[in-house]
């Protein structure tokens, strides 16, 4: 039940809501918990709420460290 799905913000309005694109399916999402999220950002969505911004940089860094550890 704690499943959260990544989506990309394509629209943001002032009343804490926005439109998020889930690979072609667009949905209105409440962004009150991720106030600093901007259009183009990836966010994790759970039960209609953005719960955290996904950091592509941190993801890349984790992969880079793993690649280094295994010399790939």
């Amino acid at each position: 039940m704690c499943l959260a799905i990544p989506g990309k913000i394509i629209k943001k309005d002032k009343d804490e809501k926005g439109i998020v694109d889930f690979g072609g399916v667009e949905k209105e999402i409440i962004l009150t918990f991720v106030p600093e999220a901007e259009i183009g950002d990836w966010v994790l969505i759970h039960t209609g709420f953005g719960i955290q911004i996904i950091s592509e940089d941190e993801a890349e860094e984790t992969i880079r460290i793993l690649n280094e550890a295994f010399d790939q």
């Binding site: 039940m1 499943l3 918990f33 994790l44 039960t47 709420f49 996904i54 992969i63 295994f70």
Partner: protein, 356 residues
């Protein structure tokens, strides 16, 4: 095409290298994946089979439907002339008088919602009660919905508070002499809200380490690798593998609204029993939105209806689902006896689907 982040965390070469390294681990260890979504991901990707026999993965109490007491279902069923709104999995959990799904067939107005906000919309048409189950991932959204109802003065909406909080449950497991868990694979999305600090008690007081882990194969294998390193170094600590989503301090906005609307109380976990300060209820200032007060419902202190189901032992990591005598014999996803077989992320359902 640019690879999505998720796809990068499925890179077959890296998966192979990690599995090879884990394969060389000899000392027997028991790691508990706390979260039901981890249980599902481990099953889905077949990760258990990739690990050496020295590493045992046990499923923990992190399936909200599985730990919701029967009494929640029993009591909500008595409400007539209201719309009962709930998350999907809960409607199939059997209570003493059958499941909400069965009651719906007999005319009870039960609706499945994707978001608590949808339930607030329903209240515009008819008195609506939302069953508030879930962990820290879910409860902030419900808190926000209650706050909106209060601000917009929507009167015919309430929430039956049955929220659980994860760290006290893990503390109870770390403290339980019958359960021997060497380290925790900590939940990713609960921690997106909570951060990693609330788990520090596990390593500091009980010397049981933990790694907050993501849900892709590389996340999980890397999380296990980090835990093994802690065990090898005899230095239990709380670390974050899922750095691309989880920060040490979690989500301050979500934590603030949890504090504003809810207050901590002792809470009954199905199959496990009462755990101190492990649940959330609605603060008195918002009691108009507390279904327990609005309809004068009381939830019993104990939950003794179990029909031989051993969910409690499964959720504590004492047995694996196969060791329950009813598993697959009398208890199946089509005909679940216990909640662990109902929810798709319940350990018994995940074992049924993936491990046999």
């Amino acid at each position: 095409m640019k690879l999505s982040i998720s796809e990068k965390f499925r890179d077959p070469d890296l998966v192979r290298s990690l599995v090879e390294e884990l394969q060389s681990w000899e000392k027997p260890v028991k790691l508990m994946e706390v979260c039901g979504s981890h249980t599902m991901a481990i099953g889905h990707w077949g990760l258990r089979k990739l690990l050496p026999s020295s590493i045992t993965l046990l499923s923990g109490p992190g399936c909200p439907v599985c730990v919701t007491p029967y009494s929640v279902i029993d009591s909500i069923m008595n409400l007539k002339d209201v719309t009962i709104a709930t998350f999907g999995d809960l409607i199939r959990v059997p209570g003493r008088n059958g499941s909400l799904e069965q009651s719906r067939a007999r005319g009870l107005d039960v609706r499945i919602v994707y978001s608590p906000f949808d339930a607030l919309e329903m209240a515009k048409k008819k008195e609506t009660v939302f069953i508030g189950i879930g962990f820290e991932t879910t409860s902030p959204g419900v808190a926000y919905t209650i706050k909106q109802a209060a601000e917009k003065k929507i009167k015919n909406f309430s929430v039956l508070p049955a929220f659980k909080i994860i760290p006290p449950a893990l503390e109870a497991l770390a403290d339980d002499k019958d359960v021997s868990i060497d380290a925790f694979i900590l939940p990713g999305h609960v921690s997106a809200i909570l951060g990693s600090e609330p788990y520090r008690v596990l390593s500091e007081k009980y010397r049981t380490g933990g790694v907050v882990t993501g849900f892709e194969p590389l996340d999980i294998l890397n999380g296990i690798r980090m835990l093994l390193r802690q065990i090898q170094e005899k230095d239990p600590r709380i670390e974050i593998e899922y750095k691309w989503v989880v920060h040490k301090d979690g989500n301050p906005q979500a934590k603030a609204i949890l504090d504003e609307i809810f207050t901590v109380e002792d809470s009954l976990w199905r199959g496990i029993g009462k755990i101190n300060r492990s649940g959330l209820t609605i603060r008195d200032e918002f009691s108009d939105y507390n279904a327990l007060k609005k309809y004068n419902l009381t939830l019993p202190e104990k939950d003794d209806f179990d029909k031989g189901c051993r969910c409690g032992d499964v959720l504590k990591g004492k047995i694996i689902p196969k060791e329950c005598p009813l598993f697959k014999v009398k208890c199946t996803p089509e005909n679940p006896i216990g909640a662990c077989m109902v929810s798709s992320e319940g350990s018994c359902a995940a074992y049924y689907k993936y491990e046999e």
